[in-house]
């Protein structure tokens, strides 16, 4: 035991020296590690007030529907990450329900001092609900209206929730510089709550969790197609690990070719091709097939193992993947034809890359100092692909893995063990506003829909 710790000591000394040299090098090459992520955060957020909607009829259902609507709208706006929401305690006593009720001077001066105001009314009548919503620029009295919308649907909580999501998305789209909101997006994940690892889906805020597959075996790495019509995942069956396909048009599993060997971690390109890791030729390498399963070709040819490919979601011309060819897993990028291979992590244990929708950033899980006795654990990192600058997003919060971008590029969903079990969490792409989405059993490997 003493001899063992002695050898650790020498190893520790060497790693310390290397690390110190790396630090010096990093300090010399770039003065700062914290890059601007440029994903819509931090630069003069819009100050927005969201007044509670008013009842427009005297139906008994109004109170319950209004509560759902106001809560969902507030949460969506808060989660958007581009607003500075004015706390409701600052609002004037007379909150408007109609454009004629808006008292501009009460809103555009302190205490609320807001520049934008969302307000409206909701009314249920004979099983139907009508919602009118407005967005006003209260600092511009001459032409204040930015947005005016009317929605009608059945008077149920779910329908009102969808209306609130849509209205929030309209506001986010207008004020967020033309980026579609994510309030109606879905997250697909693996849950063990039935006793087997099955594919589940939920709304982006954790609501409406429902089971998709009932294979009774182990399913992993669900990946929704860009058009949202199909879901690819890997599952173990008699022949081993194979790529499986679920169709949302048919609401059932559909046939997909079997390749033999171990087939893992499928990933969709923006134009509907699939990259995955297959050991059909002996070593686990990256392969690409068409969305139908045909026309397969191999991209990497080393001993690997190469796993977890992810496409550049904007161009579809690059693939990042994890390879253990030098020992510990590291992240590499290559063109989609397998050329121009580059290693982009220099140390530690790096897995689960995911490419941002604007093609500029990679997020991945990285344990930068891997080894016994080293501090730290797997954390989520963000890397600017062009400059190779990175920034750490999670700090001192258990094991974090499987990050995945939201379609607006402002959020990241990931799996974290910080609560004592593996659950799904989301955060803004600068690491703030961390929220837990799942609570039951064990939930892993989240994948955010493309739109």
């Amino acid at each position: 035991m003493l001899k063992l710790s002695n050898s650790y000591r020498t190893i520790g000394r060497y790693t310390f020296l290397t690390f110190a040299a790396l630090l010096l090098f990093a300090a010399a090459s770039s003065a700062q590690d914290w890059i601007r992520t440029g994903t819509g955060l931090g630069v003069e957020r819009v100050r927005l007030a969201a007044a509670d909607f008013k009842p427009s009829t005297s139906d008994a259902k109004n109170a319950e529907l209004l509560k759902t609507f106001n809560d969902v709208l507030w949460n969506d706006l808060e989660n958007a990450g581009i607003f500075d929401l004015v706390s409701k305690s600052f609002y004037p006593l007379q909150e408007p329900g109609q454009p004629s009720d808006v008292n501009f001077s009460a809103w555009n001066s302190p205490p609320p001092n807001t520049s934008m105001l969302a307000f409206g009314n909701l009314g249920a009548a004979s099983g139907k609900v009508t919602v009118q919503g407005w967005l006003y620029d209260v600092k511009n009295q001459a032409s204040p209206q930015v947005l005016g919308k009317q929605y009608a649907d059945n008077a149920t909580g779910d329908a009102v929730r969808v209306i609130a999501h849509r209205f929030a998305d309209e506001i986010i789209f207008r004020l967020g510089g033309g980026v579609q909101g994510i309030a109606e997006t879905k997250i697909y994940f693996i849950s063990e709550r039935t006793g087997h690892k099955e594919v589940w889906m939920m709304d982006y805020d954790g609501a409406n969790q429902q089971q998709l597959t009932r294979a009774g075996s182990i399913s992993l790495s669900p990946r929704i197609s860009p058009d949202g019509s199909r879901l690819a995942f890997s599952s173990i069956n008699k022949g081993g690990w194979e790529i499986m396909m679920y169709s949302f048009d048919l609401n059932r599993m559909v046939a997909f070719p079997r390749f033999g060997g171990m087939n893992l971690s499928p990933s969709w390109s923006p134009d509907g091709k699939l990259a995955f890791s297959s050991s059909r030729n002996g070593y686990p390498n990256i392969w690409v097939i068409d969305g139908s399963g045909g026309n397969s070709r191999r991209l990497t040819s080393d001993k690997g193992p190469d796993v977890s490919p992810t496409w550049n979601r904007k161009t579809g011309s690059q693939i990042a993947f994890v390879s253990g060819r030098t020992g510990l897993p590291q992240i590499y990028t290559m063109e989609s034809d397998g050329t121009n291979l580059q290693r982009i992590t220099d140390q530690g244990y790096a897995v689960s890359p995911n490419w941002s929708p604007n093609g500029q950033f990679l997020t991945f899980s990285w344990e930068r100092k891997y080894g016994p006795g080293e501090p730290g654990s797997n954390d989520i990192y963000l890397m600017d692909v062009a400059s190779k600058q990175w920034v750490q997003l999670t700090h001192d919060a258990g094991r974090n893995d499987f990050p995945c971008w939201s379609p607006d590029g402002r959020h990241i969903v990931f799996q974290s063990h910080r609560s004592g079990s593996d659950q799904i969490w989301s955060m803004l792409a600068d690491g703030t506003n961390v929220k837990q989405l799942t609570f039951a059993s064990s939930n892993t490997q989240p994948n955010w829909s493309w739109k």
Binding site: K3, S5, K139, G178, H395, T432
Partner: protein, 263 residues
Amino acid sequence: MAAATNFDIYSEHAQLRRPLAWSFGLHVAFAAFCVLYAISLQGFRKNSWGSGGTGDAMGATLVSTIPLPANPEQTTNVLATESKGLSKSEPAVQEKEPEAIPIPDKNTKTKLKPAPVKSATQRKPEPEPAESNQIPYGEGGPVSGPYTMTAGGAKGGFGFTGSGGDFGSQFAWYVQAVQRKVTENWLKYEVDPRISDAKRVYLTFDIARDGHPSNVEVEQSSGVPSLDQSAVRALQRIDTFGSLPSTYSGSKVSVEFWFDYKR
């Protein structure tokens, strides 16, 4: 009764003698083994005494990995808020040493000091420039946390001209969205790190009905090629600003956007 008790105790002593001997023997053997083992180990690693090394305990290094915010600068005013003002702290009072009276030396010749030459071009002492950015104690900016992600000094301005009337005042929210989006997409690390300050660079571009920027041109260069390039790239990174307001009648708006760079 008493004799029987004595006899019992005696017999127990007799029973304990052998185990006690074993115990003593084994203790001695173990102590000897420990001493021998320590000596043999010392022989293996001769230079480990006093050689320092990094140590096995990781507890000591843990603190440096936690991103603690830096301590705010000390201000002399105890009533100051947490935010650091930009005023200088009062200089410490320097105590003057009592002047030493030189003891006259007989042997040294006194040198004549040359009279100060007054030149015609000699400058008058300039007054100290007043610092324009002084903020009184306690009235500094907001407390800076560890997550400040604002691009310091990243400012931009713009002028909108459209054919449909007074765009800027009618759709102020759209103008602000454009400003935010350009600022977000301007990556300052693309600028040559040796540049600390540069002239303003002006860009012009058009925003089409669907919100797509086009015809990006440098109207007035800053003189720093990398800064001009970073500004153009910021625009190239943007797919859309969101479609123009539906109540706007024109087909496009032209934008002049300036970038101020200061590191």
